[in-house]
């Protein structure tokens, strides 16, 4: 009998091909139910003694095969956290006729549940469903959008979550966690001392103590202490039994193995098992971006292959014949390209593979250029095109995206700056046509592209925050909703926003200083100094 066994933390794939040329191929999948002992659960955590479990599965199969001759068997048992609805075990059995395969499979599952060292370690509680809006299919979309809210709503409705993957912790920085990770053990896992000192019974009235043991940080030396006995403890070392307190070494007089403890202070200096986290408690919720601290927590909890959002594949095109590389000297009518670098750097907080190219300002030639780069473009989750978004003669971004198969959801937003913003989708792939001016790039990235990135990755969308205007926003009423570049500062423990002076959407001086975008509703300016305003942080410094 041919036997294949896998014990794996990865999901069991949907389709498994049977060996060819056989009469019967019987498959079984054991799927995690939505409740355990009457309570709703989100997942089960499995643990195995893998070296022995593999051997035991093989031994069982060979043993049962003597009575029910079969030709091949494949067993996959998933380990670690298995969400409700996913398979914890897969068994496929091949035989000449179905009766042997059914018999072997049935008996194997019975014996597996008795003998194979695999354990359902614990059930993880169900978490409330995510508040992400449902995918909705839009009717024929209006190509022009009147407000930023409406644009955000359309982006969220049309962006699909990308499939998750498991990666080693070392590769997980910046990814979005796609499963809720719970503690599989209490933290700390044992009662321990928080001081270098001497453990004694908490209510021991003695003054003189006999030193009976010494426990270092990695020591595990259980013993029941008696009145008048003390154990030397290192900080972090496991206590020998319950009901103890630790007296700091500075507060004792030691004479060889005899210790005198004056009756002063009764601080326990003990960290109890589970004091930080009880087994089963949520450590990091699904949807959290994995930063240094959260990754350290996952490492502590032994979650070494977290389920996370994939690295995003981005294709970015610049357009415009006036654009030259930054290291060249512009001739009359030319300008240096800053958008390539800008996009690359704005994407820094999201782990991505970025492919960048420049397209000639001629639709036919641009299509030729793209044909030669078809592979990179077709595998991109996100396509960005800088420039060519307006309605000028040579502005071909919209037809280009349509030619690439994207359905255009909108092609203009009544927003300042950044009006000619184009958004398209095809399947799970997303495209934006960004107005060519750098300040518009900056604004459209934070107000639109970042919303799409959050949806693709599975985190909550960047939200507007409240702050106070540092100086008056001196601007006559404008009929267009505006995202006004501003400098965020802390003043007297409060967030203050200094509106920056900008002359046009090409103003690079202004956006080099900007780290926030003030929301100015249509016809609401001027706004007085000290007024409360909504703003979008345009930097990752504000944190998570």
């Amino acid at each position: 009998m041919e036997i294949e066994i896998q014990l794996t933390p990865s999901p069991i794939v949907e389709k498994i091909s049977p060996p060819s040329g056989l009469g019967a191929w019987v498959e079984f999948r054991g799927v995690v139910r939505a409740e355990e002992n009457g309570a709703p659960i989100a997942a089960l955590a499995y643990e195995a003694y893998s070296e022995m479990a593999g051997r035991e599965i093989r031994r069982l199969l060979e043993n049962i095969c003597e009575r029910h001759p079969c030709l091949a068997a494949r067993v996959i048992h998933r380990l670690g956290v298995v969400p409700v609805g996913e398979a914890a075990i897969y068994v496929g059995v091949a035989s000449r006729h179905r009766a042997e395969a059914f018999a072997l499979l049935g008996e194997f599952m019975d014996r597996l549940k008795q003998d194979v060292p695999i354990w359902k370690r614990r059930a993880l509680e169900a978490v409330p469903p995510s508040s992400k809006p449902n995918q909705t299919t839009l009717r024929t979309p209006p190509p022009h959008i009147q407000s930023l809210d409406e644009a955000i709503e359309k982006i969220q409705a049309r962006c699909h979550l990308l499939p998750a993957e498991r990666v080693p912790l070392a590769e997980a920085f910046g990814r979005v966690l796609r499963e809720t990770v719970c503690a599989t053990e209490d933290l700390p896992p044992f009662d321990c001392s928080t001081r270098d000192g001497f453990a004694i019974l908490a209510d021991d009235p003695s003054e003189l103590f006999q030193l009976v043991d010494t426990i270092h940080a990695a020591g595990w030396q259980p013993r029941q202490l008696k009145s008048g006995e003390a154990v030397r403890m290192a900080t972090g070392a496991p206590l020998p039994c319950g009901g103890l307190r630790v007296v700091m070494q500075e507060n004792v007089e030691r004479h060889g193995d005899l210790i005198k403890i004056p009756k002063s202070g009764s601080a326990p200096n003990v960290r109890l098992r589970g004091a930080e986290v009880k087994a089963g408690a949520t450590l990091v919720p699904a949807g959290a971006r994995l930063d240094a601290g959260r990754l350290a927590l996952l490492a502590t909890a032994g979650c070494v292959q977290p389920l996370v959002s994939p690295r995003l594949r981005v294709a970015h095109f610049t357009t415009g014949d006036e654009i030259i590389p930054p290291d060249e000297t512009p001739q009359p009518g030319q300008i240096r390209d800053c958008n390539s670098l800008l996009i690359r750097n704005l994407l820094q907080p999201w782990p991505c593979e970025i492919f960048q190219a420049h397209l000639p300002e001629n639709f036919a030639r641009a299509k030729q250029e793209i044909e030669s780069r078809k592979t990179e473009i077709e595998r991109a989750d996100l396509v960005l095109v800088s420039g060519g978004a307006s309605v000028g003669e040579k502005d071909f971004t919209r037809p280009l995206l349509e030619w690439l198969g994207f359905e255009i959801v909108f092609s203009q937003v009544n927003l300042r700056p950044g009006k000619p913003l184009i958004f398209g989708v095809t399947g799970s792939r997303v495209a934006f046509g960004l107005p060519g001016n750098p300040l518009s790039h900056f604004v459209c990235f934070y107000s639109a592209v970042a919303i799409a990135l959050a949806c693709l990755k599975g985190e909550s969308a960047p939200a507007f925050l409240r702050g106070r205007l540092a100086t008056q926003l001196d601007e006559p009423p404008c009929p267009r909703e505006t995202l006004w570049p501003a400098k965020l500062e802390y003043f007297g423990g409060e967030i203050r926003l200094q509106p920056l002076v900008w002359s046009s959407s090409g103003d690079v001086i202004c956006f080099a200083a900007a780290n926030a975008l003030l929301h100015v509703p249509a016809n609401q300016s001027p706004i007085a100094a000290g007024a409360e305003v909504d703003f979008l942080p345009a930097t990752s410094i504000l944190g998570k």
Binding site: G30, Y46, E47, A48, Y49, E51, M52, A53, R55, E56, H77, A88, I89, M109, L112, K113, Q114, D115, V116, P117, I118, W119, K120, R121, E185, D186, P189, F190, W220, P222, P238, R273, A279
Partner: protein, 79 residues
């Protein structure tokens, strides 16, 4: 010998594995005596824990050597 603890037994021992020094082969009774001395809490589980030696279940006659990997297997619940 290296002794491994699984599932709820880890809650009793506070660890997944330990080294147990033994100069000569010991039988099941002696092994349990050594383990209980270190982890008195295991007594409550002794009745339904099976012992494995080098990845196979043992029987009453099995002897445990210093180079062995020994595992305490509480009731399993895979599948």
């Amino acid at each position: 010998m290296r002794v491994l603890f699984f599932a709820q037994l880890q809650d009793v021992t506070g660890c997944a594995a330990m080294e147990l020094a033994s100069s000569c082969p010991i039988d099941r009774e002696k092994l349990w005596a050594n383990l209980l001395q270190k982890f008195p809490g295991l007594q409550a589980h002794r009745g339904n824990v099976r012992l494995a030696r080098n990845w196979e279940y043992t029987d009453a006659a099995t002897l445990f050597n210093d180079a062995d990997e020994v595992a305490l297997i509480p009731p399993v619940s895979g599948g």
